[in-house]
């Protein structure tokens, strides 16, 4: 679950003061990977989904991304919108796998695994006039102009192993190969781990400029990329960080 996507609406003032993704608003509902939602009052709802893997709360609604799985094991990609009181439910079926739902310029968007982006307009999803690279996920959105998208290298040996992150407004990009450890915003900075055949390189990037604030070679990937800051000297502090970067 990506907490950084929950920071919209009434929290805009907070965003303007802090570097966004670290503050966590009160979560009124929780969703689970088996397609269950529990409201703050304890009310439970089992969606007609057998697998859920991404969610977003925005303007008193929750959006869940997952699969409906039939008795033959065939998965059908779905996005579900659920109202705050869990009474109104809207299902949308897609013919390609949805990676992510996110907010951009005060609207709800979704991107599929191939990089196609859809915008929720009224009661339907329409193809947006932007696209991402394959295997992209939105790791940061301020809900308005800025969006940071990271795209992983494909896992198969014969596929493309170019990955990276880029920002829209302000514009910057940083190319590096990552497979499974997704970049994450921790404490207002973008934490990344570049996969090498042996070990990898941990880097901290500025959200505003994409500039590398510090880096460190690691023998093994960290379990949680944000833990690198939280366990100084154990997993590894960012030794080459300049003063004032908080590391």
């Amino acid at each position: 679950m990506k907490n950084c996507k929950l920071l919209f609406g009434l929290f805009f003032f907070t965003i303007s003061i802090f570097s966004v993704c670290h503050a966590t608003p009160p979560i009124s509902k929780k969703w689970y990977e088996d397609g269950k939602i529990v409201s703050s009052s304890g009310k439970k709802l089992q969606l007609d989904l057998q697998n859920a893997y991404d969610g977003l709360e925005y303007k008193n609604k929750i959006y869940i991304v997952g699969f409906k799985i039939n008795s033959d094991g065939i998965n059908t990609p779905q996005i579900v919108e659920v109202s705050e009181d869990l009474k109104e439910i809207q299902y949308w079926t897609f013919d390609s796998i949805i990676n992510d739902v996110f907010v951009y310029k005060h609207s709800i968007y979704a991107n599929n695994i191939a990089g196609k982006v859809f915008e929720l307009t009224g009661d339907s999803w329409k193809e947006a006039n932007m696209s991402f690279p394959e295997n992209s996920q939105v790791v940061f959105s301020d809900g308005m102009e800025q969006l940071i998208v990271c795209h992983s290298a494909s896992a198969p040996m014969t596929a493309n192993h170019k990955g990276g992150c880029y920002s829209i407004s302000p514009n910057w990009r940083y190319d590096f190969t990552w497979f499974d450890l997704a970049p994450k915003v921790c404490g207002g900075k973008l934490y990344t781990y570049e996969n090498k055949v042996n070990g990898g390189i941990f880097r901290v990037l500025s959200l505003e400029s994409g500039q590398v604030l510090c880096s460190k070679i690691l023998a093994t990937p960290p379990g949680n990329i944000c833990d690198i800051e939280q366990k100084p000297g154990r997993v590894g502090t960012c030794f080459s960080c300049p003063r004032g970067t908080g590391l």
């Binding site: 990977e33 088996d34 397609g35 057998q50 697998n51 859920a52 893997y53 699969f67 799985i69 033959d72 094991g73 065939i74 998965n75 059908t76 990609p77 796998i97 990676n99 695994i113 295997n135 290298a153 896992a155 198969p156 040996m157 014969t158 192993h161 170019k162 190319d175 590096f176 190969t177 497979f179 499974d180 450890l181 996969n195 090498k196 055949v197």
Partner: protein
Amino acid sequence: MELHFFPGQNLLAVKKNNVFTSRFEAWGGPASKGSDPYMPEEPTWPGTYIIHSTQRYTTPTWALSKIKWGTRLTDKPGINDIYYELPSKRWGSIKNDIGVDRQYIVNLYFTYYGQMRVPSTWVFNDFGPIAIRWYKDLNNNKILDGKERLSGQMFHTTPQNEAEHALGKKVDIKPSHGCIHLKPMDRDFLIELGAFKPKTIFVVHKYYEKL
């Protein structure tokens, strides 16, 4: 019997009694170092080698190749995971051990087989069901010993080609990182022919050499 690979022609030939008797399409690495940022492609190194063995290959270098081809899977959608059978017969987590999401596997299977589902067995090992290993026989005794090591380059198929073969589609071989890619049906035929028997002589020719 000898095997001869001509990387400049994407050609593997079987030689019997000094005569080339059969030919197969086979793709090696590029003639010069490639640009893959994770592991640059390299030429299939020319030389004379000895076939050592056929095996279900695994390697930690490539996430999808950490699991043997054909390993049993159990879908766990309710916890957004897939379990795979360990040699101990217990179950491991694809998400934790391999680092790929369930939806990634569903999509990969869809890409290869056209169905959005979790397969019952692992069909994503980059080296296919069987890899054929070779080594340089430094002391000419046809035994892997002393300072001799198995080459990191090997004959194998790819998951995509295995899927194409299984679905009866045209098999479209792609260049490799240095290994030699074969078509699944050619691999099976060559095994039946005895071309990959241990101690068979295998020659990788230079890129400019033609048959």
